[in-house]
């Protein structure tokens, strides 16, 4: 059997990106067939990436090569070490850039330039290089030197403020959502840069500001302010379990039987409500005032309370299935184990592929939510151990001899 055709075969990415906001981009491009060479610092053992060597772990073994998150975010990449404080390290990087299509990084603004690899310098090595940088605040503007990580980005772009319940402080997003999308926009930027290069022969520097990317994900709320001058900081709002755009009611997450079990129900229109009211089969649900969206919105606090009382004694999976069978959108709020190991929607999709890591062995990882009919994604190899592919890249690819590599290792270059 011939290997599957890969959409990005033949592309090489010289990759400094880490954490999730950067590593997420190149994990996607690697799955699509690009050769991603991830460069890490041997002196600090790659600890710039705070995920290298930290929990979760598959077993009792610990160390730089055993971090579960790092493995998840770096599947399919080659890993090399290079000490860029040394002239020999810089020279090897120049050799690598010369044969790469793309350079990616998410260091703080200016770090790569201070190492001697600004865009102008990269371009001098390879004139059509596509260089993509990704920081919380971008390489321009008053906050360019500010530090950031996931929660700071989500605070400063408006998404954290927008997530919460009426009468409570903001809940924020309980994970680095914008690290995922920072990586996704970075992958889009790489592909955009490559398409432009293929058409014009011209490379470029594309600079992502992750706060700008996050703000873009709040469009209707931004327009409600710029057009209608209606701020989101107002009585009764934000309340993100409700739906203002489009307006729906009832629309929320309600208690159900058992400990910390919840059901989400969205009545898109009067028809959905009529079906739900029929199932509730109690006088309050037959109130004609609730027959219209305007009436339900008017009475939303009471409606949510009555509905919560009704759902509170019911099984969330059973009730959600009954509602869905009647075409009303509803679901149990699923725990990780439920959506991963008991949900036909993810299992049938093949969403949790098993990769083989050189030291950790077989580990399940995030797959991709995309099925390609011709050039499907491949995830087989785990994230690289520190310097795992030094021989393959500096020897095989760049043509340095074993003796040279031994000397470079001795000199602290690799």
């Amino acid at each position: 059997m011939s290997p599957p055709r890969q959409a990005l075969s033949g592309l090489r990415i010289c990759d400094f990106s880490g954490q999730l906001a950067g590593a997420g981009a190149t994990r996607f491009l690697a799955a699509m067939g690009a050769e991603v060479i991830r460069i890490e610092d041997p002196v600090t053992e790659g600890s710039w990436d705070v995920l290298r060597g930290v929990a979760p772990f598959v077993d009792d073994r610990r160390g730089r090569d055993f971090g579960g998150a790092f493995n998840n975010h770096n599947v399919g990449k080659l890993g090399v070490t290079l000490n860029l404080r040394t002239d020999a390290g810089k020279q090897l990087l120049r050799e690598l850039v010369a044969i790469s299509d793309v350079v990616t990084e998410n260091f703080a603004a200016g770090v790569l330039a201070r190492l001697g690899f600004s865009y102008e310098e990269l371009r001098a090595i390879r004139h059509d290089i596509v260089y993509v940088s990704n920081t919380g605040f971008g390489n321009t503007g008053p906050y360019r030197d500010f530090k950031s990580w996931g929660p700071i980005v989500q605070a400063c772009c408006g998404l954290a403020f927008s997530t919460g319940l009426n009468g409570e402080p903001p809940a924020g997003i309980g994970y680095s959502y914008m690290d995922h999308h920072g990586g996704n926009f970075m992958a889009i930027a790489v592909l955009a840069g490559l398409m432009h290069r293929n058409r014009t022969g011209e490379g470029q520097w594309i600079d992502i500001s992750n706060t700008d990317a996050g703000a873009l994900l709040n469009g209707p709320a931004l327009l409600d302010y710029t057009v209608n001058r209606r701020p989101l900081r107002r009585p009764g709002r934000p309340d993100s379990n409700r739906s203002d755009s489009p307006a729906m009611a009832p629309h929320g997450i309600y208690p159900s039987a058992g400990m910390d079990n919840w059901i989400a129900i969205a009545c898109r229109d009067d028809g959905d409500w009529t079906i739900l009211a029929g199932l509730i089969d109690a006088p309050w649900a037959d109130d004609p005032a609730l027959a219209s969206l305007a009436g339900r919105r008017e009475a939303e606090d009471t409606l949510d309370r009555m509905l919560g009382d009704w759902t509170g004694s019911r099984d969330h999976f059973e009730l959600a299935a009954a509602l869905r069978a009647l075409s009303v959108p509803a679901t149990a709020v699923q725990r990780p184990g439920e959506r991963i190991d008991h949900d036909e929607g993810t299992m049938a999709w093949g969403l949790w592929p098993t990769v083989t890591h050189s030291k950790m062995g077989e580990v399940r990882v995030d797959g991709l939510p995309l099925h390609f009919s011709e050039t499907h994604w491949v995830m087989e190899r785990g994230g690289p151990c520190l310097g795992e592919h030094n021989e393959r890249v500096f020897g095989g690819l760049l043509g340095h001899s074993d003796d040279e590599l031994a000397r470079l290792r001795e000199d602290g270059v690799l």
Binding site: M32, G141, P246, G337, P369
Partner: protein, 420 residues
């Protein structure tokens, strides 16, 4: 500067690419992004207009199919044509349109297009280079492909809601605000569309790309997923911090003016040094019981995060650094604290409301608020702009969303004038 000064007037990365988009609630953002990247995106609506034209809020709160801010936001830069696909004449027009296009983007209920003979399979043979992207709640095939869903039920079933909310678990889990379920699927769809287009351009292979909204949010929930995959551990939601297997210290801080800020507890020696200096400047050391632990952070040359769980002294230093920063924050207005902390090298953030975003100098200097003229209303409005700066092939939010059927004649005139 970022980017090379272009030789000619810069065009978008997808300049010359034509996209046909069947209007849908979940794919609209994908079409908008492709348009911002330079593609010509033609959105196909039924004669009465797509239902999302009637989504709140409206301009000046006047309901009208040309005044929905939802429609405006997700359809900038597109052209609109009206077609009723169950009519033979319009179905033929759709075939002609697809034949002239590089990408089809749709979010139809699985099976509907097949019923009209207008599905990917009906076009693949005649146009092998075609890229066809479907965005549906659970993908086009599979056991759940016909279940109803909304942004809320996707986010509740796929993981995000489980990780968001409050320490008090009598309060419900919270949906991330702002249509993130739909947008997450659309972002993945753009990645899929661009990879497939790249393969089409370089290998001559067209294909179908099936996007599942449920799968998209499932793989966009960070530690909740890999804690389970790697260690079969379940994260629990915590007020304004990462859902985690273990409880972490509170993060959200009410600043002196009632605004909200967050900090990262100091780790590096320079951070401890800056915090000590700042606390002394503000004469707050007396109010900090454990201030000597902050000073110990300086003496020990910073701390290693992975030792917090194993070394009680490191844990005490970590805790004291966090407490000390919280104390400083409680004394200053939110914006002052955020900017001063950052200028001192201490990572901090401030909770911007959407209205703050459009007024802040950071976004203004990036040109993020983009002015778009609505000639029909004789008014200009500020829209959200680009996620990145690309000198040679800029991301550009170019013009207002189209009126219903505004470009039907403009699009089909030239197509139908061509000899078949």
């Amino acid at each position: 500067m970022i980017g090379t000064p272009p030789v000619a007037a810069p065009t978008g990365a997808l300049d010359g690419v034509r996209v046909v988009e069947l209007a849908s609630e979940h794919g609209a953002f994908a079409g908008k992004m492709l348009a911002d990247l330079g593609a010509e995106v033609i959105v196909v609506e039924p004669a009465g207009g797509h239902p999302s034209r009637f989504f709140e809020p409206f301009v000046d709160d006047v309901p009208d199919l040309e005044r929905s801010l939802w429609w405006w936001n997700y359809n900038t830069g597109k052209l609109s044509v009206t077609l009723d696909l169950h009519r033979a004449f319009d179905a033929d027009r759709f075939r002609t349109l697809v034949a002239s296009s590089d990408i089809v983007l749709e979010g139809e209920t699985p099976g509907r297009l097949q019923g009209h003979g207008l599905d990917y399979e009906d076009f693949a043979a005649v146009k092998p280079s075609l890229v066809w992207v479907s965005i549906t709640p659970y993908g086009r095939v599979g056991p759940r492909s016909h279940e109803p869903a909304t942004d809320l039920t996707i986010l509740a079933g796929a993981g995000p809601a489980w990780s968001c909310g409050y320490d008090d678990h009598l309060l419900p889990p919270v949906r991330p605000g702002g249509n993130q379920g739909y947008q997450t699927a659309s972002i993945w769809a753009v990645e899929g569309a661009m990879v497939a287009l790249y393969a089409s351009q370089t290998l001559g292979i067209g294909q179908h790309v099936d996007v599942s909204m449920h799968a998209a949010s499932n793989v966009t929930t960070e530690a909740a997923t890999y804690e389970w995959l790697v260690a079969q551990a379940t994260v629990e939601r915590q007020t304004f911090r990462h859902a985690a297997v273990r409880q972490t210290p509170p993060r959200l801080i009410t600043a002196g003016d009632g605004g909200y800020v967050i900090v990262a507890p100091p780790r590096h020696v320079a951070e401890f040094r800056a915090l000590v200096a700042w606390t002394v400047e503000l004469a707050l050391t007396e109010q900090m019981d454990e201030f000597f632990f902050v000073e110990m952070g300086v003496e020990r040359g910073g701390i290693v995060l992975s030792e917090v769980e194993t070394d009680p002294i490191v844990a005490a230093i970590y805790q004291a650094g966090n407490d000390c920063l919280r104390l400083v924050a409680s004394q200053l207005p939110a914006k002052d604290f955020f900017v001063s902390a950052q200028k001192r090298g201490l990572p901090a953030g401030m909770l911007f409301a959407p209205e703050d975003v459009m007024e802040d100098q950071h976004y203004k200097e990036h040109g993020f608020p983009v002015e778009i003229f609505h000639e029909d209303l004789d008014r200009s409005f500020l829209y959200p702009g680009a996620p990145f700066v690309a000198g040679a092939s800029p991301w550009r939010t170019r013009r207002r969303a189209p009126h219903l059927g505004e470009h039907t004649e403009m699009v089909f005139g030239p197509l139908e004038a061509q000899p078949q």
